[in-house]
């Protein structure tokens, strides 16, 4: 367990209280922080995004089912990885869950190691995704500071165009392009055209197409 995963929080959603407790007990035995919920609704009310972790979710529950919760989270743009556990290995359910990008699908009863491995993997994935999201958000924030004209210049700089060409394309003087370019580098804290290109790629890959 790496230190970056220390704050990770494992959510457990199962309507069976005993099983819920046993999962907490199991995950706690290897030091995971856990939060147990008796229903999907309860989980949705309590969930705070932004922390790495994963969701250990019973697929069959009264009220909102596991699959329905998965759909709700996707609709909200949450990337929290989900490990489904089910009492009976229903292939159709598993296929649907995996299509909806479930992280894993475990059939009860399962070996403790299988669950723990799945959780570790899911949390790593979650952490990676969170980091990527964070970088994307930062890049996005930096680029937001540019004026529209600076944005046009930045895009061409990132593509590696010399000032002369940029001036001709935008029908402005080469000197003006030079000023814009300096502002762009200052605002985005980048030192080179390559660095600027990476930043823009993180913010929105489609921009460079």
């Amino acid at each position: 367990m790496t230190s970056s995963l220390d704050q990770a929080l494992i959510h457990i959603v199962d309507d069976d209280a005993a099983l819920r407790r046993s999962l907490v007990f199991l995950l706690d035995s290897v030091g995971w922080r856990t939060q147990a919920h008796a229903s999907a609704e309860e989980f949705l009310a309590a969930y705070q995004p932004g922390v790495p972790g994963c969701l250990v979710l019973d697929i069959r529950m009264p009220g909102m089912s596991g699959l329905e919760l998965q759909q709700v989270l996707r609709a909200q743009g949450r990337t929290l990885p989900i490990i489904f556990i089910t009492g009976h290995g229903d292939v159709a359910l598993a296929v649907q869950a995996m299509k909806q990008e479930a992280c894993d699908f475990l059939e009860k009863p399962f070996k403790d190691q299988v669950l723990l491995d799945a959780v570790t993997q899911a949390v790593r994935r979650s952490a990676r995704q969170l980091a990527a999201e964070r970088r994307h958000d930062q890049a996005h924030a930096l680029l937001e500071r540019l004026s529209p004209r600076e944005r046009e210049v930045a895009l061409r700089v990132a593509h590696g165009l010399p000032n002369k060409l940029i001036a001709r394309e935008l029908d402005i003087s080469e000197k003006t392009v030079h000023v814009h370019r300096q502002h762009v580098m200052e605002k985005t804290h980048t030192g080179s055209a390559a660095e600027l290109a990476r930043l823009m790629l993180r913010a929105d890959p489609a921009d460079l197409d």
Partner: protein, 600 residues
């Protein structure tokens, strides 16, 4: 008995006449209600009107303070009017008069005086006519075995008068080959005789002469049988003569009015046809005739001895015995058929009994089969049910090993895990026990159980039967401690069936609307369990057959579930039925179980 039987032309143009004397008898004080005169009008109101309206004119001239109204009736209608005292005066033939006199006490005040008759007391007679070329027919006795036509049984001159003569000559109507009553008008009878449709006909005397005078027939073509000669009577005649039509008062008729009318009539001059009113005739001869014939007021005199009946009614008796014989034959045949069909029915019943016995014998197998099939459908649930405790146990056990290895444990940890493991093992064992008990073939065992527990157990067993099973909401409105004496497993089976049906009915609904409402309440002497779904409901035609074996609306169903449920519920003294939800789609299945406190 008809107007036509009064001798002379039916039109009786009675002259307007002297009034002065009458006025003196009748003071002006009684000018109120019109005087109603009921008239026998066999030939219809129109003919009667032209016949009798001059009489009204005369009476109104004679008694100007009173208005006179003629009301026309047939025989029955006139009798009824007299009975109801709806009339003040009645004008009818001698025959009906005699009858009304006997029955209602009507009293004649004048008799019609017609021309061409010896006296008003000898005015009406019958002629029995035949074709002149019938040499074989001369006397009335010659008509035995012959075809005779007459107007009607209650016609006076047209039948009853002649009947008396036939009887005197030893002939009864039953002796005729045929007696046809052809109704009015009377000349039909003459036509029937002329065309040989009848051998002889009974008409009122003088009809032939009138028709000949009008040129309708030739008198020489006909003859009168058993002809009589009466001094002063100009027509051919086969019978004695009877009094002419009277006018009579009813019992309630005002005496002074009666006197005034009588006086006016007697003072009325003769009409151009020679008709006038005269002092009332003696109607004893009519009574004699009725007494002879035992009809009208004397019908009670009819012989009732067996011999007399036999003599008179032998053709009917013959017919009767023939009918009796036919009936006996028919009865015997029917009896045979009944025997045959009874045997067939008995066979059918025996077959049905055998089938029913077979059904009963198979009932337990069905029962078992159904349980197994539910068990099969429930296997998903059962796997889940079992997996829960097993997974829990595994989690705890594996965690313990892990913690012991890593040293990450406390006594509290260990105790908690061990307790959970024990509890979950027990839970798993309970499930296994329930399944085995449910699937086992067994004799029914009744035990007292709280109904709510029973229902909750079934709901638990059912819960998760399908992936995404509907939510079951239990509304427990039972009095505290409500118990039933029941075979727990059987009742659970019923509940599972109903829950399964409800879930199936809602398959196509989104999950948040798939809810089964189970309501428990007391209903009189019973507890009532209602399982309500929110599905599409069933066609009314389907609901009729719901509880019949092998009826199903499900493509893969056996159609035994509800049939067995009904059997089970009824064996518990309850009832199972289905209702369409009021004001909402879906069905509610309801069954009752007797309340425990009423079970001895």
């Amino acid at each position: 008995m008809s107007t036509a039987s009064v001798r002379g032309h039916p039109r009786r143009a009675l002259f307007l006449a002297v009034l002065a004397a009458v006025l003196a008898y009748f003071p002006a004080a009684h000018a109120a209600a019109p005087v109603r005169i009921g008239v026998l009008a066999f030939l219809g109101a129109e003919v009667a009107l032209s016949t009798w309206s001059p009489l009204v004119a005369h009476l109104e001239a004679a008694l100007p303070e009173r208005r006179f109204v003629l009301v026309y009736y047939d025989v029955a209608g006139l009798r009824q009017a007299v009975q109801q005292q709806a009339l003040d005066f009645v004008i009818t033939n001698g025959g009906q008069y005699a009858a009304l006199e006997s029955e209602f006490g009507v009293s004649r005040i004048a008799t019609l005086d017609s021309p061409g008759v010896p006296s008003p007391s000898q005015a009406i007679g019958s002629a029995v006519i035949a074709r002149a070329d019938r040499r074989d027919l001369n006397a009335l006795a010659d008509l035995k075995g012959k075809r005779v036509a007459a107007v009607g049984e209650d016609a006076f001159g047209g039948f009853q008068v002649a009947w008396r003569e036939f009887r005197r000559q030893g002939v009864e109507p039953e002796n005729f080959a045929r007696l046809d009553f052809v109704g009015f008008p009377m000349p039909r009878i003459v036509t029937a005789v002329a065309r040989n449709q009848a051998d002889a006909g009974i008409v009122r005397a003088c009809l032939l002469e009138e028709l000949a005078r009008d040129g309708a027939i030739r008198l020489a073509d006909f003859k009168v049988l058993s002809p009589r000669r009466v001094e002063g009577f100009a027509c051919g005649l086969s019978s004695g003569l009877y009094p002419d039509w009277p006018i009579a008062t009813l019992r309630h008729t005002d005496l002074r009015l009666a006197k005034a009318v009588a006086t006016a009539l007697l003072s009325m001059p003769a009409s151009p046809t020679g008709h006038a009113w005269t002092v009332p005739a003696d109607y004893r001869t009519v009574h004699d005739l009725f007494r002879d014939l035992q009809i009208g007021p004397y019908a009670y005199l009819r012989e009732t001895t067996l011999q007399a009946l036999a003599r008179r009614y032998w053709p009917f008796l013959l017919l009767f015995f023939a009918a009796l014989a036919g009936w006996v034959v028919h009865t015997v045949r029917v009896e045979q058929q009944v025997h045959a069909r009874t045997a067939a029915l008995r066979d059918a019943l025996a077959q049905r009994d055998a089938a029913e016995a077979g059904m009963r014998a198979h009932q337990e197998q069905f029962d078992h089969l159904s349980r197994l099939s539910i068990l099969g459908e429930l296997s998903g649930t059962l796997a889940h049910e079992l997996n829960q405790p097993l997974a829990t146990i595994a989690n705890y056990a594996q965690s313990l090993v892990r913690r012991l290895d890593s040293g990450r444990y406390t006594p509290e940890n260990l105790a908690e895990a061990s307790r959970e493991i024990a509890a979950q093992a027990e839970r798993a064992g309970g499930i296994v026990h329930r399944i085995r008990a449910f699937a086992r073939k067994r004799a029914a065992v009744r035990e007292r159980r709280p109904l709510a527990d029973l229902v909750r157990e079934a709901a638990t067993l059912f819960d998760g039967m399908l992936p995404n099973a509907p939510h079951i909401g239990i509304a427990d409105r039972l009095p505290p401690g409500a118990q039933v004496e029941a075979d727990t497993l059987q009742i659970e089976q019923v509940l599972l069936n109903l829950l399964k049906n409800a879930a199936d009915a809602m398959q196509d609904l989104p999950s948040d609307t798939r809810v089964i409402d189970v309501t428990l309440e007391r209903e009189g002497r019973n507890y009532q369990i209602a399982v309500r779904d929110h599905g599409a409901g069933l066609a009314p035609a389907s609901t009729q057959h719901l509880f019949e074996p092998f009826f199903t609306t499900k493509p893969d169903g056996m159609g035994l579930g509800l049939s067995i449920c009904k059997t089970i519920v009824e064996a518990h003294g309850g009832r199972l039925w289905a209702e369409a939800n009021a004001g909402a789609p879906g069905m509610t299945f309801i069954f009752t179980l007797p309340a425990d406190d009423l079970i001895p």
